[in-house]
């Protein structure tokens, strides 16, 4: 089981690198959906087909993070008619480099933290996720990318939480539910923003400029 947990954690890290490296928003959203799926499977892999709690956690995570939120994001993308990120503050190559660097730093730092969990990839990947999420939040301009960045950050925190599953399972479940709330909250803000932007540059208004 340890190996599959390792692989899942690596895949989570890789999806983050994908988000850093691509400009097309639909690919970003797909990556974040995959990440949600891997994240959902992770508690099962970590505990080795554990209790009902674990399955509830996994199911909840997958539904929220791999299905609901990506669908919401895709809907928002359609509404706003944005398909690509504009040229970010740091280029895609630079972001990618920063991502790998973040991973390296996370591994270096994690070695010095007190070990709390048997799986030694968990903490570094969690740290890296938080850092990469911040990178995305800071460097990307489009609201949807920012939500994606926020989700990565959030997933990092979730990974930290997983180190505590055996001790405080209930807390984690609450956390998942909190995600739904926060997700909806963020989406509300985003869609509001996009609507405002959208109205001001809508083609309907542009037609009013012509001479009649």
């Amino acid at each position: 089981m340890q190996t599959s947990a390792d692989l899942l954690l690596l895949l989570i890290a890789l999806t983050e690198l994908v988000v850093l490296g691509v400009s097309r928003l639909s690919t970003c959203i797909r990556a974040i959906a995959w990440q949600g799926l891997f994240l959902g499977l992770l508690p099962i892999a970590l505990s080795g087909w554990g209790s009902a709690h674990v399955f509830f956690l996994a199911g909840g995570t997958i539904v929220v993070k791999a299905v609901v939120l990506p669908r919401l994001l895709r809907w928002a993308m359609r509404e706003a008619k944005v398909r690509r990120e504009v040229e970010p503050l740091i280029g895609y190559l630079g972001s990618l480099l920063l991502g790998v660097l973040a991973l390296g730093v996370a591994f270096a730092v994690a070695q010095r933290l007190p070990a709390v969990e048997s799986n030694d990839l968990l903490i570094p990947v969690a740290l890296a996720s938080v850092m990469i999420g911040l990178v995305v939040l800071i460097t990307r301009a489009k609201a949807i990318s920012q939500v994606v960045g926020y989700l990565i950050l959030e997933n990092g925190v979730f990974l930290f939480g997983l180190t505590q599953t055996s001790r405080v399972p209930f807390l984690i479940e609450i956390g998942v539910l909190l995600d739904v709330f926060v997700g909806a909250f963020i989406m509300g803000i985003v869609v509001f923003h996009i609507n405002r932007e959208f109205d001001s540059i809508s083609s309907a208004q542009l037609t009013e400029l012509r001479e009649s």
Binding site: L7, L10, G21, L96, L97, G99, F107
Partner: protein, 302 residues
């Protein structure tokens, strides 16, 4: 029985099958019939019997380039542990020699392209060196990760018995390295999504446009060398996925043949599924492939 030499012979003979098989797979998957898989053998035979036309602009460098590409690729084949255990020639740090000798071939080919004075070939040369320099970064990153993983400095160690010993404990990094190396292979061997060997528009070419002026036996040398390079990289990727150090000699040879064919089919599948990248996106793709190796190296250095 000298299995490294026999495997070398097998690879040298099978190499031209690979591009054909990749094309065939792609054709079948996209609903066409396509040329037979052994088309390249026929092409090579046809070209070898032809004469040559040399541009009045060119010098000896142009004539020397195909020879150099061929010779260096064959020399690179000596260093790869083709039978899964031993290379024909091994020494510490031969992984650098592998990359460098291929670089020599590329240097000659690029100079040959510039020798024609054609703007198209200059364009191809410029693109090729651009992408190749990043591929070299990724390739040596991969080799470094393998060196750290196995404690060996030669390709024979990195892909041979020491790898097989460690493979069980290193599933995650080796998976990353195999993926990264496969992606780098697509770039190095000029396949989709970096370059389309089947395109007919010069402006979109990378590798093909550099050999526009070569014909006859010269072109045969280049085509064969490309196929051989494809086979060598396939062997490396396959060696990461299926370490064959403990297999018996016949099984290993059969495994090699199967691995080469599987790699060609895999490339064909990838080519039918993905689109060609824009030129400006290629460096990102290659760096992304290298990043897989980078993550693996971080995991190993932990």
């Amino acid at each position: 029985m000298n299995t490294p030499l026999l495997s070398l012979a097998l690879v040298l003979v099978m190499a031209p099958l690979l591009p054909g098989l990749a094309f065939r797979t792609r054709a079948l998957l996209t609903g066409r019939r396509g040329a037979p898989a052994w088309q390249l053998y026929a092409d090579l035979w046809k070209l070898a019997r032809r004469g040559a036309v040399y541009s009045t602009t060119t010098t000896w460098i142009f004539r020397f380039a195909p020879v150099a590409v061929f010779a260096t690729t064959v020399a690179a084949a000596l260093l790869v542990p083709l039978d899964g255990r031993n290379a024909v020639l091994r020494f510490g740090g031969d992984a650098v020699a592998f990359a460098s000798v291929l670089a020599l071939g590329r240097f000659a080919l690029v100079l040959g392209a510039l020798d024609t004075g054609s703007s198209f070939e200059g364009m191809g040369a410029s693109r090729d060196v651009t992408f190749a320099s990043i591929v070299e970064f990724g390739l040596l990153l991969t080799f470094s990760a393998l060196a750290v993983a196995t404690g060996e400095l030669s390709l024979t160690g990195m892909f041979g018995a020491p790898l097989a010993e460690h493979a069980g404990a290193l599933t995650a990094p080796l998976t990353l390295l195999a993926l990264g190396l496969f992606a780098l292979m697509l770039a190095e061997c000029a396949r989709i999504p970096v370059d389309d060997p089947a395109t007919h528009l010069e402006l979109t070419m990378v590798h093909e446009v550099m050999v526009l002026d070569h014909g006859g036996p010269d072109l045969a040398f280049i085509l064969y060398a490309n196929a051989l390079k494809f086979a060598l990289f396939s062997t490396l990727v396959f060696g990461l996925v299926v370490p064959r150090a403990r297999w018996s000699a016949p099984a290993s040879a059969a495994g090699l043949a199967a691995g080469l064919l599987a790699s060609a089919v895999a490339v064909g599948v990838v080519e039918s599924l993905t689109a060609r990248l824009r030129m400006a996106k290629v460096p990102l793709y290659v760096f992304g492939s290298a990043a897989l190796g980078g993550v693996a190296l971080i995991l190993l250095l932990r």
